[in-house]
Structure formats: structure tokens, C-alpha cells
């Protein structure tokens, strides 16, 4: 596929998630204005920060008059899951210039990550991943800014919009990504364990429960996978990425 085609395919594959993000962006814009941020600050956060859930938590804390260091610490902790995402993308970064990596990092969201990993799983030999990734990232970014602006405008007319429960759009979109990906026993166990553990830890401060949940669920997945592999006389782990060229495509 040509780079332009890959770029468009990335954007197209992200379309369902973009639709799901529309109400999110609108509610963010409305909520931030309700909570006393200026409209330029509300828009600037979407432009320069671009992190859905961290933005929500930040504007909620602004409303409760939290100190700036407290807000920043919370934002940092909420964003730690992106560090996990980025770490899992590391094998696909070899040979890419840093300026592309900067762009990919800035556009790393739950949605783009979900779409990109979905694609990698189906097509581990994919060339030109950055094009696909950036198509998805730019589409999410443009949509997010547009919807923030819409929310700023609408929020002034429909004050109740923040209570419509529009986060359901994101839930069903994530279900559409995760459920078809559950193939092995280890993956099922990982998902169920994450669900159960997240219910036990949801009231921990600053989403620390989410991080512990991820840790526990991942451990369960890995242990089961290694055990199943050894029962089937396979190696404990076969790195799919080893079949990929490590930065020397010319060979």
C-alpha cells in the first residue's frame, strides 16, 4: 500500500471510534466552561494536551478549586497508562526518525492505540505503520478540537448536556475492539481478571486502582499463556516481532 493509502486506511479504521469520541469532546467543552475555565483555555487544552480522560479529571479538579500541583500530579498519574501503551509499541519504532516518534507520541490515545494494535495483530508484517498510525492520530485530533469547540458553543445553550451519560459511546466502542480480540484462554482470563479487579479498586485515588488492575491482569495473562505454551510443547514465548526487519529493510 502507498503511504497516502495507508494514511487514509488508518483514518477510516478509526471512524467508529471518532464517532464515539464526538459526545466526549462536546461534553468536555461544555464541562470546562461550566467549571469556570475561559473558552481559550478550554480549547488550548484540547490543542496542546490532547488527552480525553486526563482533561476531564483536570477540569473537574479545577471546579473543586484544587491546587495546580495537585491537578498536575493527577494528570500525570492518569497518563501513566499511555506509558504502558508506548512501551508496547517499542518494537515497531526501530529505524524511525525521532520527529515521527514525537508526532506519534503526541497523538497516542486510547483510541488510536486500540486501532493500531488491532491492525498489528491482524497483520504483523505491516510496512509503513507510521502512516497508518498518523492517519488515525490526525483524524482523532482534528475531531477532538472540533468537538471541543462545539461543546464550548453548545454548553452555553444546553447546560444539562454534561449529565446525558454520553460516555456510553466510548464503552461500546472499546467493547467492539476488545471482545473480538479475545481468542486464547490466557486472553480471556486477562480480560475477566481486569474487570473483576477494577471493581475492587475503582475508589482508589487518582486511578491508582487502574494501574494495579493492569499489573494483576497482565500477570495472569502471561502466566497462563506460558503454562499453555509449555503444555503444547511450544516455547514459552515466541516473539512475533522477530520476523520483522529490525531497522534494516534494505537487506
Amino acid at each position: 500500500m502507498t503511504p497516502a493509502r495507508l494514511f487514509l486506511t488508518g483514518a477510516r479504521d478509526t471512524l467508529p471510534l471518532i464517532l464515539a469520541a464526538i459526545p466526549f469532546g462536546i461534553v468536555y467543552g461544555a464541562l470546562a466552561m461550566n467549571n469556570g475555565l475561559s473558552q481559550w483555555a478550554t480549547l488550548a487544552i484540547s490543542l496542546f494536551v490532547f488527552a480525553g480522560s486526563a482533561q476531564f479529571i483536570a477540569v473537574t479538579l479545577v471546579a473543586s478549586a484544587a491546587a495546580v500541583p495537585v491537578i498536575l500530579l493527577t494528570v500525570f498519574v492518569v497518563n501513566l497508562r499511555h506509558m504502558l501503551y508506548a512501551a508496547s509499541l517499542m518494537p515497531w519504532m526501530t529505524g524511525l526518525p525521532q520527529r515521527i516518534r514525537v508526532l506519534m507520541a503526541f497523538w497516542l490515545t486510547d483510541e488510536t492505540y486500540a486501532v493500531v494494535t488491532n491492525r498489528i495483530t491482524r497483520d504483523p508484517e505491516l510496512r509503513g505503520l507510521p502512516w497508518y498510525y498518523c492517519g488515525s492520530g490526525l483524524a482523532m485530533y482534528g475531531n477532538w478540537i472540533l468537538c471541543t469547540w462545539l461543546g464550548i458553543t453548545l454548553g452555553q445553550h444546553i447546560p444539562d448536556i454534561t449529565r446525558w451519560g454520553l460516555d456510553v459511546a466510548m464503552v461500546v466502542a472499546f467493547i467492539g475492539i476488545v471482545v473480538p480480540a479475545l481468542q486464547s484462554r490466557a486472553q480471556w482470563a486477562c480480560a475477566l481478571c481486569a474487570g473483576a479487579c477494577s471493581l475492587l479498586t475503582w475508589d482508589w485515588p487518582h486511578q491508582s486502582g487502574l494501574l494495579l488492575t493492569a499489573l494483576v491482569a497482565i500477570t495472569v495473562g502471561v502466566v497462563l499463556e506460558r503454562r499453555d505454551n509449555s503444555k503444547a510443547n511450544r516455547p514459552a514465548y515466541e516473539a512475533e516481532t522477530q520476523s520483522l526487519p529490525q531497522g534494516d529493510i534494505s537487506k
Binding site: P91, A169, G176, C190, G221
Partner: protein
């Protein structure tokens, strides 16, 4: 409060964790065990986010049929499993939510 200090700080603290692993990629080989673990990240984190957003409402676990989020999630799971189509899953999920909110 200075809004712009807040925005600059948020931007830095969001970009940092996203960029650090990408910046370092290629300088060090990731140990196979860690790589195997990282493959479970999407399933683990997204499942946790799905469960919490579906079941936690107004500061409590709501596991009843009057929880419209739960009904939408169940419908979405069924559609996702049988159709494997993302668009259809989102559409049916949202439709279920709309109908449930309207009835409840």
C-alpha cells in the same frame, strides 16, 4: 489561578509518559518476558475502563437491569462477538442505550 501555567504543565506531563518509551525504542532490546507482558496491555487496560464506566455510577457499583450502561454493554458484547464489526457494535450499543434510557 494561572490557566496557562496549568495548560503548559498538563501538556508536558501528558507528552512525557507517551514519548519516553518511543524515544528509547531501538537503543535497548526489550526482554522477551516484558514483550510478552506488553502484548496484554490493550486487553487489560481497556477491559478495566469498560467495566468501571459500565458499572460504577454515582459512587457505587450498579449491577441492576435499570443500569442503561450495562444493558448497552451487554448488547455491544453480543454484537461484537458474533459480528466482529466495530461500526455495528457501536451502532447497536448506542441504540440499546437510547431505548433503555427512554424506557427506564
Amino acid at each position: 489561578m494561572n490557566e496557562w501555567t496549568l495548560i503548559a504543565g498538563m501538556a508536558a506531563l501528558t507528552f512525557g509518559p507517551r514519548y519516553l518509551p518511543l524515544a528509547l525504542a531501538g537503543r535497548a532490546r526489550i526482554p522477551p518476558l516484558i514483550e510478552q507482558a506488553l502484548r496484554f496491555v490493550p486487553i487489560a487496560v481497556l477491559s478495566a475502563i469498560i467495566t468501571q464506566t459500565t458499572l460504577i455510577h454515582q459512587g457505587a457499583v450498579d449491577f441492576t437491569l435499570s443500569n442503561a450502561h450495562l444493558l448497552a454493554a451487554i448488547a455491544a458484547c453480543l454484537v461484537a462477538w458474533f459480528s466482529r464489526g466495530l461500526f455495528l457494535t457501536v451502532a447497536i450499543g448506542l441504540l440499546t442505550y437510547g431505548v433503555a434510557r427512554w424506557i427506564i
